[in-house]
Symmetry: C2
Subunit: 351 residues, 2 copies
Amino acid sequence: LPAPRSKPDMNGKYKVAVDAMTSERGVATVVNAAADALQELPDLELILVGDPSQLEPLMKAHKGLDAARCSIEPALQVIGMDEEPGSAFKAKRDASVSVACRLVKDGKAHAAVSPGNTGASVVAATLTLGRIPGVRRPGILAFMPSKSGSTAVMDVGAVVDCRPEDLVLFAIMGSACVELVLGKQEPRVGLLSIGEEDIKGNEQIFATFAMLQKAPVKFIGNVEGRDIFGSRVDVVVCDGFVGNVVLKTAEGTVRFVVHTLKEYFSKAGLLVKLGAWLAKPAFRHLAQRASDDEYGGAFLLGVAADFIIAHGSSNQLALKNAIRQARRCAEYGLTAKLAARISQVSSEVTA
Amino acid sequence: LPAPRSKPDMNGKYKVAVDAMTSERGVATVVNAAADALQELPDLELILVGDPSQLEPLMKAHKGLDAARCSIEPALQVIGMDEEPGSAFKAKRDASVSVACRLVKDGKAHAAVSPGNTGASVVAATLTLGRIPGVRRPGILAFMPSKSGSTAVMDVGAVVDCRPEDLVLFAIMGSACVELVLGKQEPRVGLLSIGEEDIKGNEQIFATFAMLQKAPVKFIGNVEGRDIFGSRVDVVVCDGFVGNVVLKTAEGTVRFVVHTLKEYFSKAGLLVKLGAWLAKPAFRHLAQRASDDEYGGAFLLGVAADFIIAHGSSNQLALKNAIRQARRCAEYGLTAKLAARISQVSSEVTA
């Protein structure tokens, strides 16, 4: 386990390594987001990892970029969105995401951000940085919007055949992450199932339910898909297969709603069209609430350093916020806190 | 297997048995829905199954109810929404849902409808009516709204630990049901996974993918949660645990969207409020598209007779449509067609 880097470096700065080559919106969007993040956070330093021949001209051309706090770490290989993570990681040792992880491993950065292939991020981070002792499989925590603000869902795609032990660790790590990000003490943890009663579920759920009742989290029992958007639960624990389906189903539903309204408006009479125009601020508000730009990405929890997985299609704001999130994790020492909690649980279990 | 009742009885009528006691909206809503269905469908006869002392006065008081085509079959026991299905079925042999199934079993009705406890409906139908030969576990098919109309999702909660064989049967039965209900020939079947590539998924998905490639359905490969609401797939096949989470996540997302807009409108300025008021027809249209009232319920496929599972909270329109759906299944001979296809597949496999 690398030493927890919850303290800034000798210059008082938090350093974040950013995989600059894998954003679907291109390298320029990453450079713009970097400039925004540096402007917003005076104690931030960035290392953009990627092809200097692309990065240098963009950085020079950007007048708002504080060049003194932004360096380049060369990496000439890139793992594409559709590559098989395991073999791509092995074949491209100097891929931008792997180089970003090595910077953290070597103590040159506190945390890393990548908007690339999620599977490749999980593999590169796990194999380069190692895992927190006691964690079999790191998982991905994503925030989804809810009536009361946000609900954390973990795992959303890293581990598709979870053991009950994995889910219990997700509950513990998810709780700690929510305490940091949302500032909620003792977050309420629910197990995603198909009914609230403890007789509802499958074999995986029954076994996990029993273990969560004894785990050091505030376990409120089974919750359902609709509870994610309500206000009774803060951390929803689920298998990565189910969590990924949940994420994409919610995304599809929002798109369906928007499509249905737009189609209706396009064919409607003048008064309804006027109504749609006047009500536009409400739709903008909805789009903002439904997006996760505010969080900028998801948290890879269980690897031995802080790593933020940004969306491949992240816009400038989302990428900037992903960088901010990485810096917050570093300041808070999230990974170190997770490790401390997990070691406590392990010793409780073995005691 | 009961003889396929795809022909009307000697009086030219299709008979549907309705579990009249388990609607969350009360017995009166069921009686009103029955009256509506009889008015809409001249070749329909209904048997309302339940407590005569509650049903009789309501039927007499309803002026629009064609009493000559609506009889009562007494059943004094009711399985509640929260009862454990297996033990409730055994303890209450004369529960309304079981009596409705027996009417079908004994040839007194072509099909049955129940808005009660879904698990109890599955158990009562499976144990009373038996299964189509070759079907290990009957599943539930629900229609969800999509850009192009509707997408069938199966299973949405009957089988929470599916074997790949179960999922292949869901694909075959789901295709046949979509041909009937949506009138689509050769419906496109997708396997719900966490990416379109065939390397994405879990063990269950990999095994099922290989089997579906050889199955007598139009298999288009893996699909994602968001595809349900798009236009590239007609039948989405999934484990009942995942399907149930999908259904409730979509429901929660729609509620979240409505809540977010309403909250914004309530605090907005006069012009935005006016816009919301003018745009109301669009929101009504959305509510209608997002509801499944048009289908009235889900299809229990794999039991040896046609059975429609209506929502417990179904309104009068949804219940009426569930009855209409049951009659359509009877006329079409859905169960007999499913049985014929499955026997063909079985003999192909054993050949």
